[in-house]
Symmetry: C2
Subunit: 396 residues, 2 copies
């Protein structure tokens, strides 16, 4: 048995985890918690979210409200998150009065994309060219200096699954995007890169630094949204080693506790750090059926300062294809039976009511090779995605 770490939450009663956020990441974290007998209380913003539909211990409140968060913390041993929509200053104040919050404020501050890019560049990590802009003149200057329009604009906060990211083809759109960026009126601007591939590394880290790194996964994006993933990524071993090292170095630098996701662009054969997220991540859903221990279980184990689980793949190849809502198609929950008629697919639905383009679930398939895995998962997702165009192509 490995030695116990100081500061472990080991005690004579079962631990209680406070989970801020009630989306599908929370829902999948709860699946892992229920199995391990971990007591989790969820702070959701609405009963209609994915997690409250399957969990009895839910409070409803605004996680940006300091008093709500303060109340929620009482009686939980450790506070963690399924999203970044919290105020790092509030988190810092909670830590000052002795609350255990994992990850901590410094990791959460990096969820602001402007702060994140600036910090990553300052720390010496290769990132795409970028500029934090607050007016049209700055955006235009950036475009001129980087091959002209279009450029890509990212909202510093609140983006996910392609939301908060847009292409700007001129000054008029730049003005509009700034107006839409709210009070802050700040955008991260970068060139419209066309990466050869996109990769992601998921890793989990305990307070003392013990960590595990999942096999590097390739993510296939369209319109800024991750459509499918394949693990292990079929790239040069040196790139795999480099991506893994970058993730570990980053986690150490920010004192990460929990799962950290690092997304990479491969441009001209070299890695650029695109984005990081200090929580279980969409690109890591393959770990549920594809690895000995899922990212959700390892996130819980990390924030509880428990020994981490094996991240080994359970098959030579694992593919995951996301399921989206269509404009007029039926509810995927009514189509599960047809998808399950395919061999060896794992269907995951998040219990959300369908809306066009809304991510409703994912399908994972394991196989002896990547092509078979993606074909299997893609076929099942296509059945569940009826009416949604384009996903089928990713699977072919």
């Amino acid at each position: 048995m490995k030695p116990k770490t100081n500061g472990s939450t080991h005690q004579s009663r079962p631990p209680v985890v406070g989970l801020v956020g009630g989306g599908q990441l929370a829902r999948m974290t709860l699946h892992a918690a229920a199995r391990l007998g971990i007591d989790v209380r969820v702070l959701a913003t609405s009963r209609d979210e994915a997690a409250p539909a399957i969990w009895p211990h839910v409070e409803i409140g605004d996680p940006l409200d300091a008093r709500v968060l303060d109340d929620f913390c009482r009686g939980v041993d450790v506070l963690t998150f399924d999203h970044e929509n919290v105020d790092p200053d509030v988190i810092e104040a909670l830590v000052r009065i002795g609350r255990v919050v994992r990850p901590g404020a410094s990791a959460l501050r990096l969820c602001d994309k402007a702060a994140q890019r600036t910090e990553l560049a300052t720390l010496g990590f290769a990132v795409p060219p970028f500029s934090v802009c607050t007016n049209v003149a700055e955006i235009s200057a950036f475009a001129r200096a980087h091959g002209g329009w279009p450029v890509v604009a990212k909202a510093p906060r609140g983006g996910y699954d392609g939301r908060g990211v847009q292409w700007l083809d001129g000054e008029e759109q730049a003005l509009f995007a700034l107006a839409m960026a709210g009070e802050q009126a700040t955008l991260v601007i970068e060139p419209a890169l066309t990466p050869e591939r996109e990769l992601a590394v998921l890793m989990a880290r305990r307070p003392g630094g013990e960590h595990v790194v999942y096999p590097v996964v390739e993510t296939i994006q369209r319109d800024g949204t991750c459509r499918s993933t394949v693990a292990p990524a079929d790239v040069d071993p040196s790139l795999v080693r480099e991506a893994s090292s970058i993730a570990v170095a980053l986690a150490d630098l920010i004192g990460m506790v929990g799962v950290l996701a690092v997304e990479f662009f491969v441009v001209d054969g070299a890695l650029l750090v695109n984005e990081i997220a200090p929580r279980p991540h969409n690109s890591g859903h393959f770990t549920i059926d594809g690895c000995v221990t899922s990212q959700f279980e390892n996130h819980l184990r990390a924030v509880l300062d428990w020994p981490l689980g094996s991240v080994q793949l359970v098959a030579p190849a694992v593919a995951t294809v996301n399921v989206f809502g269509s404009a007029d198609g039926p509810d995927p929950r009514a189509l599960v039976s047809e998808a399950l008629a395919l061999d060896d697919v794992h269907v995951h639905l998040y219990g959300k009511s369908p809306r066009p383009g809304r991510k409703l679930g994912h399908v994972t398939a394991t196989a002896a090779d990547p092509a078979t895995a993606i074909l299997r998962a893609g076929r099942a997702a296509e059945i569940l995605n009826q009416g949604w165009c384009g996903v089928g192509e990713a699977a072919r």
Copy 2:
């Protein structure tokens, strides 16, 4: 894609399953349901049971009360069970008014051990010698005819995990056991057999007869309680084929829908059907981490008349060791961290408060060979079982 079966519950809205029973089998069924986005309502007898602790859609009521069951059925597409404590006559009445109940009354009637043994013998299956006794004279006569005392007495209903089974060493104990058997005052009496081994077969069957049979598992019992299981059972292939065929034949004969567990004794190299249970079963917990599709997911798929999932093992050997409460030991939920320090073990806790001898969870390990799997799972279970004597031995 396989053709759709007639009578499938496929429809334009997600299906609703009504699950009678709130114990750990329900809890593990809910894990599978949540992942697939299946809407399940649970009828539990108390909020303190294993399932209500992790599920928001729970009604509290007595499943033996016809009105409670009738009310519970409204709005569910199919009714199923995590225990046998229902009245088959009530179930039959529900079916007459058009409710879909799976498994049906004929399978549930066989949960009475007296009816079960009699029926199995009548159908021509090899069973241990037995007699359904209602007085001491009958029990004494059986003992005389089968090598003398002790004999084993089984309560026809309400037994589980060793409860409801006792050894009788003479007429005084026989009298006592009859007095304890309640109004019915009926016991199933059998010789005190010492089987060479005990095996179990789990299978799932859809309404149309499509079925899957899990690899035969060996169960290691002590004091009438299953302590551990190893799959695949290391027995002659002809015995594996025979056990599987018996399970399929039995399921066909009783028109089983859902998971059927068949427990066997091996005596003088031959199979005797010891007991059957028309639901996911304690001996099948290895299927969660050890097979592509768990018994709980396949039970749901079967009762919804959905295509069944692959029952293939994901590793050459899978061992499961149960975790019990000890007299004065700590709550296993506070020891999970230590158990997880061992490599590659899957800890499952049912969220029940510890009581001596109460089953609180199980640990599963997969490995290249049975000895390694049982050693790993056993070590982790031993940590969680602190104070409980004997389980460690099973793992050594």
